[in-house]
């Protein structure tokens, strides 16, 4: 599976959304991505890419696109 697919999968599983919905999601703007979903998403991304995010990056993770940018800091190209 490509990183792109893995990344999408993490959103789909952690936030219980469809692959079509995931790319438009913004933290706090949908029921799926609330603060509970947020911690599930962090855990899913960390498991998927075997990284440990810094606290500030967890706070910064506010959209599907932003997540890609953050993972780049951990040498994960989506």
């Amino acid at each position: 599976m490509s990183n792109r697919e893995k990344y999408l999968n993490a959103f789909v599983k952690a936030l219980e959304v469809t692959p079509g919905e995931a790319p438009a999601l913004v933290y706090g703007q949908s029921k799926a991505w609330d603060s509970v979903g947020h911690m599930s998403l962090v855990a899913a991304l960390e498991d998927t890419f075997d990284v440990m995010l810094e606290m500030d990056d967890i706070v910064d993770l506010s959209s599907f696109e932003k997540g890609k940018e953050i993972l780049r800091k951990y040498d994960v190209e989506i």
Partner: protein
């Protein structure tokens, strides 16, 4: 007002009295203007107090809002579309629920400030974490409570997180044992509400005659002593009891509202609660609300520079306490230190996350 980056760059316990006081006065006065412009109810209360922001020379002159007003009114300074989430206190039957409205900026600011405070206490890296509570507390999103918000706020420091209790609030020993075996030798971060830790963790281990190897653990707990005071458990007894069942040597209390995680006062290794640079405490005499002297008991007022979306920057709590010192704690952290002496008698509410009722 300072922007986020400048606020976050401040050393958590690094400003001396004069400098901190000037910083807080400037920020809190600016916040008073901001909220008066954004929240009509707040503007009316401010007008009724007779205080004009332009005339404020010390933040102690700003009128504190009694916390119970957040139960009686919907107090916020941002429009609907800016809301990120609303946190309610976990009211029990017959109690009114308070609502705190967070926009994205305030929510992020609170998380980041909590990160700075906890880094100072735990060190910078995220630790394997045990939440001494039930996952059910965060699952029911419709009932998302202060307890849930507190758990999620502190989860930021955890990794590989497990819950110590199951859905029915029963101690989950197999999960804990497996987790501790996996993380043997590592520092473990435990978080829980004081009453829950006592009743569902300590008392249960004791009853079962079980122990857990948590010598390298750090427990951070808060939420109030009300229920434990009824059982004659004080902080010293609490600490000692946890040492008995799991060897925990570091047990740190915090004071603050669970749902406003950026505004907490952490206990240091000397056992004192500390006001970080973004917050302060003022003790007021209940008879005339004048500022009490060091060591004198009175009502606790909390001030903090974080709330942008609701007028919660200067609040009068229903707790009593006293100032222990300022810039003079043996631990070396600057700022005021204080202790909490309990709830005011006849106060309308209990501790905000101290509301788990057994059925």
């Amino acid at each position: 007002m300072l922007d986020q980056a400048a606020l976050l760059a401040l050393p958590p316990y690094g400003l001396k009295r004069q400098e901190k006081h000037a910083f807080l006065t400037a920020e809190l006065t600016a916040l008073t203007r901001l909220h008066a412009a954004g929240c009509p109810e707040y503007a009316r209360m401010l007008a009724a107090s007779g205080v004009v922001p332009d005339g404020v020379t010390e933040y102690e002159q700003l009128p504190p809002l009694p916390v119970r007003l957040f139960k009686e009114f919907s107090l916020r300074s941002v429009p609907d579309e800016a809301l990120h989430r609303t946190v309610t206190s976990s009211g029990t039957t017959g109690q009114q629920v308070s609502r705190i409205y967070l926009d994205r900026e305030t929510a992020a600011l609170q998380s980041r400030v909590l990160a700075r405070i906890m880094e100072n206490t735990l060190g910078g890296s995220r630790l394997p974490m045990i939440i001494v509570d039930s996952p059910a507390v965060v699952k029911d999103r419709a009932m998302f409570s202060a307890r849930g918000a507190g758990i999620l706020g502190f989860s930021l420091f955890g990794r590989d997180t497990v819950y110590a209790l199951d859905e029915e609030m029963k101690l989950d020993l197999p999960t804990l044992r497996a987790f501790l075996a996996k993380h043997e030798g590592e520092t473990i971060f435990l978080f829980g509400f004081t009453f829950i830790v006592w009743q569902y963790f300590y008392a249960e281990l004791k009853r079962l005659g079980e122990t857990l190897p948590l010598e390298k653990g750090v427990l951070v707990h808060g939420g109030g002593w009300k229920k434990l005071a009824d059982e004659a458990v004080n902080p010293a007894r609490f600490r000692e009891a946890l040492g008995e069942v799991c060897g925990l040597a570091r047990v740190l209390n915090y004071y603050g509202m669970a749902e406003q995680t950026g505004s907490i006062y952490m206990e240091c290794e000397c056992g004192r609660l500390h006001a970080p640079v973004w917050s302060d405490v003022v003790i007021r005499r209940p008879e005339d609300f004048s500022v009490a002297d060091k060591g004198e008991k009175g009502l606790i007022e909390v001030v903090r520079v974080l709330p942008r979306s609701y007028p919660g920057h200067v609040l009068l709590t229903e707790d009593e306490g006293r100032i222990l010192g300022e810039d003079d704690c043996p631990c070396g952290r600057l700022g005021k230190t204080f202790e909490v002496l309990g709830r005011v008698k006849h106060a309308e509410v209990r501790g905000c996350s101290d509301t788990y009722e057994s059925h």
